[in-house]
């Protein structure tokens, strides 16, 4: 948070797979960096999609979240720069999700037992002074790592397409949070924000119904007014570039991504204002003004 000189921690979370968690993480990170915010992406998804997208496959051995979870003293050292200026990364691990239950119990540096639900919070707080926003890219499961992410989070961002399964996923998120609160794993339920993605493919009546259910008034979450339009080309750009890079690049081939980049810019703007994060002067898109709202 800008006032206390410490980052706002946001878990990008939905238990359903394929709901654009990684895409949203990468593009919200890029959008926030374009607004001059310092962003850290903490990838706890075993698939490491956002890590590969932002950093590529590591050419040499680097510290990942696996090593840091075992020894949080390595947190600072494990932060690497990415292809996007202003966005740093703690690289994901394909091993940790499988071994999380045992790995999170003991701090390997001193061999002392610890609370297995607060490891990620410890890690995020160690590096929070360096950033304005920390985005945790969660995996599509209800494992111990994701529980850690919800414990660490000041805020939860749920990217959703308008499918029945995804709506069920949203109720699952609410159930998980209520259960965690009842069992005192968290001391409060973090504010929940929903970002609607893959819109404009909603001609079907059923899709519209789901969307109106998500946007119903009495819900205990906020739905961002900006949505992310669906473009087939988004499925082809991983891991070479983000929609912002391609939209800015001026290559005619990627013109379909301009609306997507614009949507992410608007949604990020709305979301960061909701979090109380102020746009920094000298932000990179101020000069170009192309996709800034």
């Amino acid at each position: 948070m800008s006032e206390s000189n410490s980052a706002t921690i946001v878990a990008v979370y939905l238990e359903k797979g394929g709901s654009t968690k990684s895409t949203t993480t990468v593009h919200v990170a890029h959008g926030a960096a374009r607004r001059g915010l310092r962003v850290l992406v903490l990838d706890i998804d075993g698939q490491r999609h956002s890590s590969i997208w932002l950093h590529g496959e590591p050419k040499e051995r680097i510290l990942t979240i696996n090593e840091v979870a075992r020894n949080p003293d390595l947190a600072e050292e494990a932060i690497v720069a990415t292809r996007v200026p202003g966005v740093d990364l703690m690289y994901g691990s394909s091993i940790l999700p499988a071994l999380a239950e045992s790995a999170l119990k003991v701090n390997e540096a001193d061999g002392v037992q610890r609370n297995p639900f607060t490891v990620l919070r410890t890690i995020a707080r160690r590096v929070a002074h360096r950033f304005d926003l920390i985005l945790i890219d969660c995996s599509p499961t209800v494992g111990q790592l994701n529980t850690n992410a919800l414990v660490a989070a000041d805020h939860v961002l749920v990217p959703m397409d308008q499918a029945k399964m995804t709506y069920r996923g949203l109720t699952d998120v609410a159930t998980t949070l209520v259960k965690m609160r009842k069992n005192d794993i968290i001391d409060r339920i973090p504010p929940l924000t929903v970002l609607l993605t893959k819109t404009e493919s909603d001609e079907a009546k059923g899709t519209r119904e789901i969307r109106s259910m998500i946007q119903a008034e009495d819900r205990p979450y906020t739905v961002l007014s900006h949505t992310i339009r669906y473009r087939k080309q988004m499925e082809f750009i991983w891991p070479d570039a983000t929609a912002f890079e391609l939209a800015d690049g001026g290559n005619f081939r990627w013109i379909h991504l301009r609306p997507v980049a614009q949507d992410y810019a608007n949604a990020t703007d709305e979301f960061t204002r909701l979090l109380g994060l102020k746009r920094k002067s000298g932000s990179t898109n101020a000069g170009r003004g192309e996709l800034a709202s």
């Binding site: 339920i189 504010p191 404009e200 009495d218 205990p220 007014s225 473009r231 013109i255 909701l274 192309e290």
Partner: protein, 130 residues
């Protein structure tokens, strides 16, 4: 689907809000809990533009082109492309050639039911393998 869970979540949130002291709130919590009067400095985001229906889209290819793909800065776009030389030649594309490219894309998009076309290299590969 279990709708009750949202009610339970709201109740839990309200209980937490009542219990929390203002001094111990995080900034995110404060932002979420601040009454509207105090957040009046934050201007509400404008509502998103509604997408054209497929019928409207099909009836007006120009709207698809401008409204969906090129968005709002067509002029900028044309300027940018007419400045670049065509690979392998010294020629710069004329506005009409860029327009032709755009129309080709729009036509392809229409063929794909108003969804974005696949990247050119993928389409070429598909065509050559057919």
């Amino acid at each position: 689907m279990n709708e009750d869970v949202f009610a339970q979540m709201r109740e839990a949130q309200q209980r937490d809000e009542q219990r929390a002291e203002p001094g111990t709130q995080s900034a995110a919590q404060t932002a979420a809990n601040t009454p509207p009067a105090e957040t009046s400095s934050i201007s509400p985001a404008p509502p998103p533009t509604p997408a054209p229906t497929p019928a409207q889209a099909r009836s007006n290819a120009r709207d698809i082109l401008l409204g969906i793909y090129v968005d709002r800065d067509l002029a900028d776009f044309l300027d940018r492309f007419t400045e670049k030389r065509i690979p392998g030649t010294r020629r710069k594309p004329t506005i009409s050639l860029v327009g032709y490219w755009m129309l080709s894309l729009a036509r392809e998009a229409l063929a794909n039911d108003a969804n974005a076309a696949v990247p050119i290299e993928v389409a070429r590969k598909r065509r050559s393998s057919e």
